[in-house]
């Protein structure tokens, strides 16, 4: 694999899962001149990355310890698990935390009920449903205020 091209920053963000969220966030980081590496088991999904994407891609299973080594997870500063499967995200995040002792680990969780497995683990979770509910109620409230 190519050695990491060191840009302005020394940080490396590993994103597991190149779906809509993973790909757009990778594009954003790449635009900000950050080092990014995206892992997805299907290399076709890398087409979602923008043509100007300057990070690295790795086709493989991010729950495989060998793949994580290949992604140079030892050097990573942030690990983000955003595959389309909650259970896969949980496993990737816990591996990054427990096996590789990463400080910053973030995982997406579609099912808020599963959040209890993350208690006291030091892993940050984002839950699109909860976020959407907050946003929607905020919109409704502001609209109500305007109508009044």
């Amino acid at each position: 694999m190519k050695e990491l091209i060191n840009k302005k920053s020394n940080s490396l963000t590993i994103i597991a899962g190149c779906g809509r969220l993973g790909a757009s966030f990778a594009n954003t980081l790449s635009d900000q001149e950050e080092n990014v590496l995206v892992i997805d088991r299907d290399k076709d999904s890398f087409r979602k990355l923008s043509p100007s994407f300057g990070g690295l891609t790795l086709a493989g299973d991010a729950t495989d310890i060998d793949v994580l080594h290949e992604a140079q997870i030892e050097k990573a500063t942030v690990v983000i698990a955003v595959t389309d499967n909650d259970n896969t995200n949980i496993m990737i995040a816990q591996m990054a935390k427990e096996l590789f002792k990463k400080e910053r680990v973030i995982a997406r969780l579609n099912d808020p009920d599963k959040e209890c497995v993350y208690y006291n683990s030091g892993i940050d979770t984002i839950c699109p449903v909860v976020l959407s509910i907050k946003e929607i109620s905020k919109l409704i409230k502001t609209k109500n205020v305007r109508e009044e």
Partner: protein, 222 residues
């Protein structure tokens, strides 16, 4: 109180485990996300079957996971099994969790995450294959806890030196007994006048280091 066991995922493994556990008087609940499989599982007497995804907390709740003593995660996906065990442990306070794992490299990780018993089917099977290739089909040694005694399965081929002999006619080393003969589907506890037939599988119990001599006597090989 009968112990309550939860089996999550896998049709075939769940079915045979359920049958054997129910026979041993356990209270068993199986969770399977395939409706057709559930219908077949439901034919087993006194097995409770829940149709749904066992990695979802509300499905586990339907299965009364909070009352279970043991949870066994049998799905084909390592991540699902991990999440099942973590949910059972953290949300439902189940004392003992057991997970199947495909990737042998993850065994330690699973233990680290608090799973009580991790079974790597791939490892177990490769071990068996290795053993069988190295003993070249002559015998299978079964591991015993302290390894003071050994248990070996010895198949008897038609050309073996002991075919047709009665047990007392076979010159076995002193500290070896033939504990069981597996003949077709039947298993029998032999006596001195039981005859060994071609195709039998002898289960040999022997004390330290006597098994090789005994296997040699029974098969004429090694």
């Amino acid at each position: 109180m009968r112990k309550h066991v939860l089996l999550i995922g896998s049709f075939n493994k769940a079915r045979s485990l359920a049958q054997s556990l129910i026979k041993k008087k356990y209270q068993v609940t199986a969770i399977n996300n395939d409706y057709q499989n559930c219908l077949i599982l439901a034919e087993i007497d006194s097995l409770t079957v829940i149709n749904g995804d066992g990695t979802k907390p509300f499905v586990l709740e339907d299965a009364n996971a909070q009352d279970a003593d043991i949870a066994i995660a049998l799905t084909p996906n390592d991540d699902d099994n991990l999440v099942i065990c973590e949910l059972c442990k953290k949300k439902f306070n189940i004392k003992k969790t057991v997970a199947l794992v495909n990737d042998p490299k993850k065994t330690d990780f699973f233990y680290k995450m608090g799973v009580d018993s991790v079974i790597c089917a791939v490892n177990a099977i490769t071990n068996i294959i290795e053993q069988q290739t190295f003993l070249e089909g002559i015998a299978t040694l079964l591991p015993t806890g302290e390894a003071r005694i050994s248990i070996a399965e010895v198949p008897i081929s038609a050309t073996g030196p002991v075919v047709g002999k009665k047990l007392w006619e076979i010159n076995l080393p002193k500290e070896v007994i033939i504990g069981c003969i597996l003949r077709g589907e039947k298993s029998m506890i032999p006596r001195g006048d039981t005859r060994v037939l071609a195709g039998d599988m002898l289960v040999l119990i022997s004390s330290d280091k006597q098994e090789i001599a005994a296997i040699k006597e029974l098969t004429g090989q090694i």
